[in-house]
C-alpha cells in the first residue's frame, strides 16, 4: 500500500450534569449520593404509571446560559422527545431527550492548542435531557444479579455536540479543558469527573489521501466511557494509530458494503479501545414528541436578556488581562485557568497595589505555590487580596525590597487564620517592627560600612589584593547591621570605600 497522508477528524459529545437543587422533572434532590442508593426517587423519576414530569425552570435557565456562552442560536420554540430503548437504569423504557428541535444550535468555542494556535471548534447543538440511573455489575464473575440505583435517574443533563472540527488528541483535550473552565465560570456545573458530572464520547475517523486527489476515510468509531480528559486524549491517540494500522491491513473504508459506525469502549487500565456490541440504529430509538411535556417558547426579549446577563467568560478575561492590564498571554492564561475566584483575587490585588504585572508575578508564583502546597482554595489562604495588594504596593513604591516582601508574606501566611483586616497600615506596622524599610539614610549606611571595614582587616586586605569574593562577608555584616539595606547599594558603597582606603 502506498504512503497515505492522514488527517484525524474528531467530534466530541459531552454530557454535563447541571447544578440544580432538584432533578429535571421532579422535586427529588439532585445530589451525588451513592452511599444511600434509591433514597432520592419518586413516582416521576421511577417511571411509575400516571406520574407526570414537569420541566425544572432552573435547569432550563442554566441550559440557556451555557448555550449562549457557547455562542449558540437559541430556539424560539423547543420540545422534548422520547428516545426509546431498554436498559435497567432507564425505568420508563425511554429517555426524555431532544431530537429534531433542540433548544440551541450552531455555536462555537475558541480553544488555544498546546502549540499556541487558536482554533474555533463549532458546536453543532446543545440539548437538555435527563440522566439515567446507575447499574452496578457483579464483578465476582459468579453471574450474580446486577444492582440498580435510581438516585441519578432524572438528573438534568446537557448534551453538547461539536462538529467534527477537532484534529488531534491534544486538541480534544484543549477543547475539554476550555469547556470545563467555561462551565465552572458560568457556575452551571461542578464538572466533577470522578462523580460523573462531566462525561465524554469521541467520534473518530481518519481522512486519507494518497496524493491522487482521492477522498477516502476510515470507518467512524465512537469511543464511549471516557471519564477523564487524559482518557479522552489517550483514547483518541490510540484510535488514530489503530485505524491507520487497520486500514493498511484491510483497506476497509467508510462507505464499503457492511461498514457501519462502530462503538468501542475505553479500557483505562490497559490503555486500549475495545469493540462493543453495535448500537441500535438511530431510527430504532423511535423518537416522538413527549405528550407529557409542554414545549417551551422564548421571546426575542428573553433571549436578549440571557445574552446580556452572561458573566464575563474566561476568554474575555484573558484578553482583558492582556490588553487592559498588559499581562503576558502566559500569565493571563495561568490566572484565568485557576478559576474565577483566583482571578478575582488577582484583580483585587492588582487594583490595590496599582501594578498588574507585579501582582501577576506574585499570584502566579508565590500565591499559586502556597495554595498548591497547602492543597487549599484561594479563599482559604490566610493572606487576603487586600493584604497582598498593600504589601506589593510597598515594594512598588520602594519602601521595601522584594526579599523583604517575601519575608512579610511568609509572616502573614504563618497566621493561622485568614485576616482580612490587613490594611496598608498593618503592613506598614509590620515593616517597621521588622525593620524592613529600605534604608536610604546614607549616614547609617556609611557608619555601618566603616564599622565592617574596621572589624575585618583580613577581608579588606584580601579584597585589595584582588580577591573579589572577599567582599561577601563585609556585605553580609552591613546587611545584618542595617536591616532593609539594599544589597546592591551596599556593595557599591563598600567598593568605593575600599578603593579609598
Amino acid at each position: 500500500m502506498p504512503d497515505v497522508a492522514h488527517t484525524p477528524v474528531i467530534g466530541l459529545e459531552v454530557h454535563v450534569q447541571l447544578l440544580t437543587r432538584t432533578k429535571i422533572f421532579c422535586g427529588c434532590v439532585n445530589r451525588f449520593n451513592p452511599d444511600e442508593p434509591n433514597t432520592q426517587t419518586c413516582p416521576v423519576c421511577l417511571g411509575l404509571p400516571g406520574a407526570l414530569p414537569v420541566m425544572n425552570r432552573e435547569a432550563f435557565r442554566l441550559s440557556l446560559i451555557t448555550a449562549a456562552a457557547l455562542e449558540c442560536e437559541l430556539a424560539r420554540f423547543t420540545k422534548w422527545d422520547r428516545k426509546q430503548y431498554y436498559y435497567p437504569d432507564l425505568p420508563k423504557g425511554y429517555q426524555i431527550s431532544q431530537y429534531d428541535l433542540p433548544f440551541s444550535e450552531h455555536g462555537a468555542l475558541e480553544v488555544t492548542t498546546e502549540s499556541g494556535e487558536s482554533r474555533r471548534i463549532r458546536i453543532r447543538r446543545v440539548h437538555l435531557e435527563e440522566d439515567a440511573g446507575k447499574n452496578l455489575h457483579d464483578e465476582s464473575g459468579r453471574g450474580a444479579d446486577s444492582r440498580v440505583d435510581l438516585n441519578r435517574a432524572g438528573t438534568p443533563l446537557l448534551e453538547i455536540v461539536t462538529e467534527p472540527d477537532v484534529r488531534s488528541a491534544a486538541e480534544a483535550k484543549s477543547f475539554l479543558d476550555e469547556l470545563h473552565l467555561l462551565l465552572t465560570y458560568l457556575c452551571v456545573s461542578d464538572c466533577n469527573m470522578q462523580e460523573g458530572s462531566l462525561r465524554c464520547d469521541a467520534n473518530v475517523n481518519l481522512h486519507l489521501s494518497t496524493g491522487a486527489g482521492d477522498a477516502i476515510a476510515t470507518p467512524i468509531v465512537e469511543v464511549k466511557n471516557l471519564n477523564s480528559f487524559r482518557g479522552v486524549e489517550a483514547a483518541v491517540e490510540f484510535e488514530i494509530a489503530r485505524q491507520l494500522k487497520e486500514f493498511h491491513e484491510t483497506g476497509r473504508k467508510l462507505g464499503d458494503p457492511g461498514v457501519e459506525k462502530e462503538t468501542r469502549g475505553w479500557d483505562a487500565q490497559r490503555n486500549v479501545t475495545f469493540a462493543q456490541r453495535g448500537k441500535e440504529e438511530a431510527s430504532d430509538y423511535r423518537y416522538f414528541p413527549d405528550p407529557d411535556l409542554a414545549p417551551v417558547t422564548l421571546t426575542d426579549e428573553e433571549i436578549e436578556s440571557i445574552r446580556a446577563g452572561l458573566r464575563e467568560l474566561p476568554a474575555a478575561r484573558r484578553s482583558r488581562y492582556r490588553n487592559d492590564l498588559g499581562l503576558s498571554e502566559y500569565d493571563a492564561d495561568v490566572i484565568v485557568r485557576q478559576g474565577e475566584r483566583f482571578a478575582d483575587y488577582f484583580e483585587e490585588t492588582s487594583g490595590i497595589c496599582g501594578d498588574a504585572k507585579q501582582a501577576a508575578n506574585w499570584v502566579t508564583q508565590d500565591v499559586l505555590r502556597e495554595i498548591n502546597d497547602r492543597g487549599v482554595e484561594i479563599g482559604d489562604l490566610p493572606v487576603s487580596s487586600q493584604a497582598l495588594g498593600a504589601l506589593i504596593g510597598r515594594i512598588v513604591d520602594g519602601t521595601i525590597t522584594v526579599k523583604s516582601g517575601r519575608e512579610l508574606f511568609g509572616l502573614m501566611l504563618d497566621e493561622s487564620e485568614r485576616n482580612d483586616e490587613h490594611s496598608p497600615d498593618t503592613i506598614d506596622r509590620l515593616i517597621e517592627e521588622r525593620g524592613l524599610r529600605i534604608v536610604n539614610d546614607s549616614g547609617a549606611l556609611e557608619s555601618a560600612i566603616a564599622a565592617a571595614i574596621a572589624a575585618s582587616p583580613r577581608a579588606v586586605e584580601d579584597f585589595q589584593a584582588g580577591k573579589q569574593q572577599a567582599i561577601g562577608p563585609l556585605i553580609g555584616k552591613v546587611m545584618r547591621d542595617v536591616k532593609g539595606a539594599d544589597a546592591k547599594a551596599v556593595r557599591t558603597l563598600l567598593i568605593e570605600k575600599l578603593k579609598e582606603a
Binding site: R57, K79, S146
Partner: protein, 99 residues
C-alpha cells in the same frame, strides 16, 4: 400507498419492544397491523397544503416548575413494586457489559 407491511417489520418492532412472538403471532399481528395502518392512511386524503406541520400534540407551552425540593419516597416504598430488590437496590438479571 405505503409499503406493504412484512412479517420482518413485525419481528423487528417486536424485538425493539422486547416482545416474544410465536410465528403464529407474527402472522396474525402482521395482518392486524396492516389493517390498522390502512385505516390510518385515510388521513392522507385530507388536503394539508396550507397547514403548518404539527410538532407537538399539546397546545400548552411553558409549563415549568420552580427548583424547590420535595420529599422523595422512602426507600422501602420505592423498591416495593420491584420484582426483586435487596433492601437497598433494585435487582435485575446480570447485565453483560460489552457483550
Amino acid at each position: 400507498m405505503a409499503e406493504q407491511l412484512s412479517t420482518d417489520d413485525v419481528r423487528k418492532v417486536a424485538h425493539l419492544a422486547r416482545l416474544k412472538l410465536s410465528d403464529q403471532d407474527v402472522e396474525r399481528f402482521t395482518g392486524q397491523l396492516a389493517d390498522i395502518l390502512r385505516y390510518v392512511e385515510q388521513l392522507k386524503e385530507v388536503d394539508t397544503d396550507a397547514v403548518e406541520p404539527l410538532v407537538h400534540a399539546v397546545e400548552l407551552t411553558n409549563v415549568l416548575r420552580d427548583d424547590v425540593p420535595r420529599a422523595s419516597l422512602p426507600r422501602d416504598a420505592a423498591l416495593s413494586n420491584a420484582p426483586a430488590a435487596d433492601g437497598a437496590y433494585f435487582l435485575v438479571p446480570p447485565i453483560l457489559e460489552n457483550a
